[in-house]
Subunit: 351 residues, 4 copies
């Protein structure tokens, strides 16, 4: 009988997993209970952001030391979904998802699954779409989530590999797009005949309202973490998800916190902040270069990547409502939520 | 009998003043009425941000063409306070302050003044503090503002010149600090014996709650624009100013909009957005590296300047409440509002 | 009977054309003699580099003041080819090309021409290729250069306009590529049937050994400057051009200086440096990610644009041979010189 | 009887030590022979460059696996001097210094030593100067180098720790300066009474002609590697060191290669390139903002750190002579070589 727990840990730098070691040392959490990690590291979030790989290496070394299992095997069964870039008010941190003994009639469940290794030539193709959909179905089975309607959020870490000479930014975007459509396919948000590679980055009408995708060079297959309602799980954590119409959609942000049972008005009051267990947000710079009719400059900045712009802006909005900067904000919301917008997901301890 | 008007203009690029030309062509505004410009251009906001000088040159060329007055003379009497950096959701724009015929019993007044040219060796010294205080007093006289208590907001553009070999970032910060203390001195917020160069960037207890300072290499003296209540001015524009305790202080932002008479809850509703005439915000990255106890990464980023981080975050928060990205956000809030925080000022048309 | 002169001017910032004003004031050059300007400004060299437009505005304002001709008319007949980015050892400067009275039997000639305005939809198409080829032919006629074999160097400033939503980096690259193939077409380096839009950025075997192309948003048509041998011109300036096989091809750099009659061994000796009138270099990051078999990191850097990487590296090499940092280095050498390499052109006063 | 060997390894990313594993697997090198590593990783080279720590972690994990010694103990006896930043033509790589059996009458020797842990308050003080001098003397003893005159090159990795609120860039620069003066003190290049903290970054007349210093947050004490002539070592490797007067001093670069016995004219010919075992260069942006009288823009660029500018330029020059981009170029040459210049050191296999 499982019970989901979420522990947020700080990191002093991307090689620092000492806060997790302290949880183990203090008996708060047993190493074998760790099932997934979703976190933000302080790199640039792009292709040459190695803070993700560094934290993963550090984390797996710690888990290997504490469990006796080889780091390579741990990495193949524990998704470590990291997004680089803590621009502005954001704070480097990770959410450690653990499954503990206990359980109940029905509650928030977590499941994970990994696809087969993805070849560079498969990025952004029908093959990747199908692989992500299949992997999500496996993760749902792992969690005991019975139907797509019970799924609350799907977090994917998708690989970004490029053949020599290809533009790596394109690979990162196409990989996110393919994974989002793969999720939408498995959840029934997009019809099978529409979930095709030629629609990626082209047909903006296709999207998932429950997908949050990161891509990076340090992963070699599609890693899926699913959260949703399932029988037999303890009922202690609420998950609220809401779409954002654009990057300034403060009411959308507030709606996600309220959906998780938190009295945000407009901010979560200080006395309730301890109930915030994790916050995930996706967004993207409006591709037509305008927000509510006014020109933005995110897309044409040679010195500052558009996703760095986006994370700093969206992150501040969500962090202001949440009460601090421990927000997982990830840019590149291709086919995730409405175009030019995104989504916010909040995990909260129930009262 | 004067009447203050504020017109917000968009710019397609930093050399584009066509929106102002259109206001002239349409008879909305006469060129001779322009008294000050406060705007955001899309540079990096640092020492090598030439978008400020470019827009100033374009604007003065337009005014020269339309008024017959030489561009150099116009530049010496019309403050053009530009802040570079439209990170995230911000939109390049300028507020054109004009004084039109009309008037009334008492209302929001505008005054301007320029100090004598500032030598590089005077930046960040007692001499600059005194010069800014004197210049502010001259601007108050220009507006007819009788006492410091009637001052609502002081916007200063301070020069940043460095002797060869000196660190230019230091000059920009010290110039902002000296100007802020100069304002605080003239407004009675800091005692004369405390308003000394040795306190700059050192004594964080000293600050002005009504100063907004930018610095840049394209100006050669201290340019001051003051807004406040004065007899004889028309009563059509409200000015609300509120401090922000930190960069996530969303209630502080909302308070400024409400102080200007706008029903922000949390955002200004769409039907009232047309009443927003201008928004000015100052903030800074918390110097102890933490926001509400959680580590931020703005200060140690070799690739992305701390002020670019700050503007993107603070700008999104203020823009979300205002309803769009036309917000003048300027980093470097040394001695402007509380440490690690800042202030927000809102100009609104009265109902 | 014309005589070509090249004056190099420094700029203290991108709005500074005082060094040219001094040449006018000192009687070195008459304003009416200025025929073209090729220079480097200190921006980022990308789409949001406004230093190019700023210097152009300043320069045209100066020329307008001194000639009485309207700035807009001057801009339509004097090509001002600016490349942003003075990374590393490079120094902001401009080469002012003037045609003075005098002349001779045969010598280095300069011609200029402008295409019709280019629409965004024409960038990177057959239409732009044809327009550049036609404009080059017009520039050759302007110079009196009789045949393609007499052409030494063609410098083009090509427009980079994008429809909303399109990736502006792609537009800049495609515009450079189309202009290079247009030059190659006019010079007979590429056959008419091969000079097609579908070959752009695809068929790396197509290139011009005499084209140097910059693109930017501040120009609205293809501006062409051609240098070559023609009858009737004074014989005082040598032009040496040599290809670079890759960005480390120091012998290639030296060859260009020697071709201009300068005794580079490996550097131009101090006593001969005054003979260097201008240096132009084009290069690009090797697209397979390797230089001589070793991985480079220029193409996948989220924080530092590949062209900024390239200019800093190539610029240092050329500047070391030339003796100082006044080198026009421009990245984006699509179809200009060998793939992964580029070309160097040197203007030198004959002994 | 020791024999020094230098193996250069490529890295596919900063977590990749597979090339060293291959050397072990192929029997080229035994893990126990590794004594020091000096390498370049592809970060930004600044305070938030975590590629150095990542590679160190990966390397020590490999060595721990192969030697059975704990990674923490290995890290405390094997200096791993990494410099981030492979701008331009540079290629990520590491030089692995090994001491193998063998030996001879007299040859190039290597010694290493670590200081006690450095506290943040000691950075840039007399205490750090003395600690580096003592550590260098210990390293000389380790190598059997009898006198300062026999020292060829001293490579130091110095810690950069800051108290909260302090500017981390200053700490990095002061730590490099203190280490350089510490080396100069031990080598007799600076008199004891002059080797004082107040001279750091102030008295540019003080310098070492044989010091190469990097600083970083991932090291906690001063790590020293010394190369020089000593009795009993095999005579197979030549070390050439030469100063650079400025960043364009190509003859200085060539001199270092020639001093190592390589026929650079100006480049090392292809048939001799296999003899290049390692190249180390230090340089800095001229602090007066000029190179040979012409303004450079490295020091005032808000978007691109001065050291990134510098490494790209200097790296290209040295790589062009060496023949490929495997050059250890490190910025921040405070008190290392002449002001505004630097030094180049070349390790070459003797014929």
């Amino acid at each position: 009988m499982p019970s989901l727990a979420v522990h947020r840990i700080a990191m002093a730098h991307p090689g620092d997993s000492s806060a997790l070691a302290a949880l183990f040392d203090d008996g708060v959490l047993a190493p074998a209970m760790v099932r997934a990690v979703i976190g933000k590291t302080e790199g640039n979030g792009g292709l040459n952001d190695f803070t993700r790989g560094y934290f993963t290496q550090s984390l797996m070394a710690l888990l290997a030391e504490r469990t006796g299992e080889a780091a390579s095997r741990l990495a193949a069964r524990i998704p470590c979904v990291l997004s680089g870039g803590t621009e502005g008010a954001l704070s480097p941190h990770a959410m450690v998802f653990a499954v503990k003994p206990g359980g109940g009639a029905r509650g928030l469940a977590l499941g994970t699954a990994f696809s087969a290794p993805t070849r560079a030539c498969e990025i952004g193709t029908d093959a990747q779409i199908a692989a992500v959909a299949d992997t999500l179905r496996a993760a749902m089975r792992d969690a005991g989530i019975a139907t797509p309607a019970d799924v609350g959020l799907v977090q994917v870490k998708a690989p970004a590999r490029t053949p020599p000479g290809a533009d790596p930014r394109v690979a990162m975007a196409r990989s996110r797009a393919a994974a989002a459509i793969g999720v939408a396919l498995a959840l029934g948000e997009v019809a099978p005949e529409a979930a095709r590679a030629e629609a990626l980055l082209a047909d903006v009408s296709l999207s998932s309202a429950r997908a949050s995708i990161s891509s990076g060079t340090e992963v070699t297959c599609n890693e899926v973490v699913v959260l949703g309602q399932a029988d037999g799980w303890a009922d202690g954590i609420a998950l609220g998800v809401a779409p954002m119409a654009d990057v300034l959609d403060l009411p959308g942000v507030i709606a996600a916190f309220r959906a998780a049972g938190l009295p945000a008005d407009p901010c979560v009051p200080e006395r309730e902040r301890h109930r915030v267990l994790g916050v995930i947000a996706k967004g993207e710079p409006a591709r037509d270069g305008r927000i509510r009719g006014h020109r933005h400059t995110m897309l044409g900045d040679t010195d500052l990547d558009a996703q760095r712009h986006l994370r700093g802006a969206l992150g501040a909005l969500v962090a202001a409502v949440a009460g601090d900067g421990r927000v997982f904000v990830s840019g590149g919301a291709e086919h995730q939520g409405p175009p030019g917008g995104g989504l916010v997901a909040v995990l909260a301890a129930k009262r």
